[in-house]
Amino acid sequence: MIVESRSKPAPEARAAARGALSINDLHKSFVIGGTLRPVLEGINLDVKPGEFVSIVGASGCGKSTLLRLIVGLDDQYGGEIRLDGERVATTSLDRGIVFQDHRLFPWMTLEQNIDLALLNTDTPKARRAQIVADHIALVNLVGFEKAYPHQLSGGMAQRAAIARALVTEPKLLLLDEPLGALDALTRVHVQNELQRIWMTQRSTMVMVTHDVEEALYLGDRVIVMAPSPGRIRRIVEVDLPHPRDRGAPLLHRLKDEILSELMAGPGETDNLVRLPEREKR
């Protein structure tokens, strides 16, 4: 097992071999109104353990569907999705996910919401309280253990959802536009938190976002997808150490490049204002 050393060795480095995601020739289509509509086609992607990959693309390029397939909520697909060699069929504690709407259970306190993730793990009961407390500290929510979701702000709820996803130490953490619903200021804070957590936890992360800047700031690689049917147009390497400086010229150059690519579109002469298609959840 090769322990890959990162530029800045994290204090409790996880066994680096976990969390290798490989997707080959993935295709998926929905039956909408009787006709078969392809949503994802010919997706090939390999994510190395501990790597942070961002996926960016116009709405309707199937990025959320891709995540639902990887996490196992939807098991109807062609092709292969393997995590550390195991084929992905249904949900498993090895693959965590954070949704755009935080989906904390309104009837549970913050503590209970995070603790429920450990319910079916083999962590002994005694240690669970400690693990939950650690993760609440990790996302800076100390003092709100007994709060109900309706008593938390959007940003705090989103951080709680991240804590819940991390508490099972999943090999792979998926983030489906986790910061989409937050205001700009909170989003920057949570991005920093996310990066700090990623560097300490060292788990593999795949984040879907519509914000190119965010994708570049956080991702080792940025997958640019094209819509209908969803396919990978280009993979952009971001060769900068973490934590990164938001003002780095490389980031700006890559941002303009990706944006122009996204805006150009593959030769379709559709007008700019196109009614956003309701993305299939």
């Binding site: 800076n140 709100f144 709060a147 309706h150």
Partner: protein, 386 residues
């Protein structure tokens, strides 16, 4: 440290709130458990005795329990029947039935063979027999109940003739429909000469008081209407031959009576003993007091029982006579004619006199009651029937 967003009020100390919540919850559970237990108290299961004689009777709510006002009440107090049956290893059980829905409940009990005997009205009994439940009239219970024709205030009507074309409240399908039709026949009238309004007795006082109906025909609650000043009585079965009254008897299930003549004899003996006790002038006040428990006020019961024509002793006479046979023939004819029953009942087959005659001999009471003298003479007083 990223600055915190404004947060809604800090969650109150959950520990304090939760503890108080648990205490309230515990108290609430205790109260509910207590109330539920209260519900299941006193539901002792009937002793699993192979042989049980079950007698049903109209029961009244009195001081939180069901009491039987008539002869059944006396039987229970005397305890003679219970001990006699116990000697033969047979248990005695009583089924209380409310006045509001007495007849149907007993008929359903009879057809389900859950009831062996019932002291109840003539109409429901005939209806049961015509419905295919074999019953036997094993003992007459006195002279029957009086019915009253009450007219609302401000209406100067002296007799049923004056009410022609008026609105009369009559609860259809109930036993006192028969004496009303006899009164009409005696006066050459028909039901169609009136607008008959079908109201439950509980809604009648208000209807009479508000003038929605001009008159009503019902049992002793008529006396109450008069006492409350809502109307005045212009006719009652006291002015008619005794067999016009609404009668109630002791009926036994046909197959039980055939199969267990000895037990039936004991039951009839008990009823005759109770009748003898009630017929004794000395017990008059006790009888009236018991009859008022959970039913009409005592004064009304006394007024209802007060009848110059019938001596107190005869009021409880268990003797069979032609008047009773005529009564049940007319009930059978009326219910069939009115389409209340689908097949006609043979009244004579209903009556089984063996047990009363035997009981009178066993209890040396055969000279206690004389055949009541009610005959054609009394008929004349009923308004010139030809």
């Amino acid at each position: 440290m990223p600055s915190e967003e404004p947060v809604t009020p800090k969650p109150k100390s959950a520990a304090g709130g939760a503890a108080r919540g648990w205490i309230i919850g515990a108290i609430a559970l205790l109260v509910i458990a207590g109330l539920v237990a209260f519900q299941f108290r006193g539901k002792e299961s009937v002793a699993g005795n192979p042989k049980t004689v079950t007698i049903a009777g109209i029961a009244y709510p009195f001081e939180g329990r069901q009491v039987y006002n008539g002869l059944i009440g006396v039987i229970i107090e005397q305890g003679w029947l219970k001990s006699e049956l116990a000697k033969r290893g047979v248990a005695l059980a009583f089924t209380p039935v409310p006045t509001a829905v007495g007849g149907p409940l007993i008929n359903e009990g009879f057809s389900g063979k859950r009831i062996d005997f019932a002291a109840y009205g003539d109409f429901p009994a005939i209806i049961a027999v015509s419905g295919g439940v074999p019953l036997k009239l094993v003992a007459p219970l006195g002279q029957g109940q009086n019915c009253y024709l009450v007219v609302r205030n401000g209406l100067a009507a002296k007799s049923i003739k004056d009410l022609r074309g008026k609105r009369i409240a009559l609860h259809r399908g109930r036993p006192w429909e028969l004496p009303f039709s006899k009164l009409l026949d005696a006066n050459g009238l028909k039901l169609s000469d009136f607008t008959i309004v079908n109201i439950n007795p509980s809604a009648t006082p208000a209807a009479l008081a508000s003038g929605n109906v001009d008159a009503t025909f019902l049992l002793s609650d008529g006396l109450l209407l008069e006492e409350k000043g809502i109307g005045h009585i212009i006719w009652s079965t006291k002015q008619a031959p005794t067999e016009w009254k609404m009668r109630a008897e002791l009926f036994g299930r046909g197959d039980f009576v055939e199969g267990n003549p000895e037990l039936t004899q004991l039951v009839v003996d008990a009823f005759v003993r109770a009748a003898a006790w009630s017929a004794d002038e000395a017990n008059k006040t006790a009888v009236i007091h018991d009859a008022a428990r959970g039913a009409m006020p005592e004064a009304i019961v006394a007024k209802d029982y007060a009848e110059s024509g019938i001596p107190w002793r005869d009021r409880f006479s268990p003797l069979f006579n032609d008047a009773i046979k005529d009564h049940y023939r007319s009930v059978a004819d009326y219910t069939y004619a009115r389409g209340l029953v689908r097949n006609k009942v043979e009244a004579d087959k209903l009556i089984d006199e063996r047990f009363v005659t035997q009981a009178l001999r066993d209890l040396q009471l055969d000279k206690y009651w004389k055949q009541s003298s009610a005959g054609p003479a009394a008929l004349a007083a009923a308004g010139g029937h030809s």
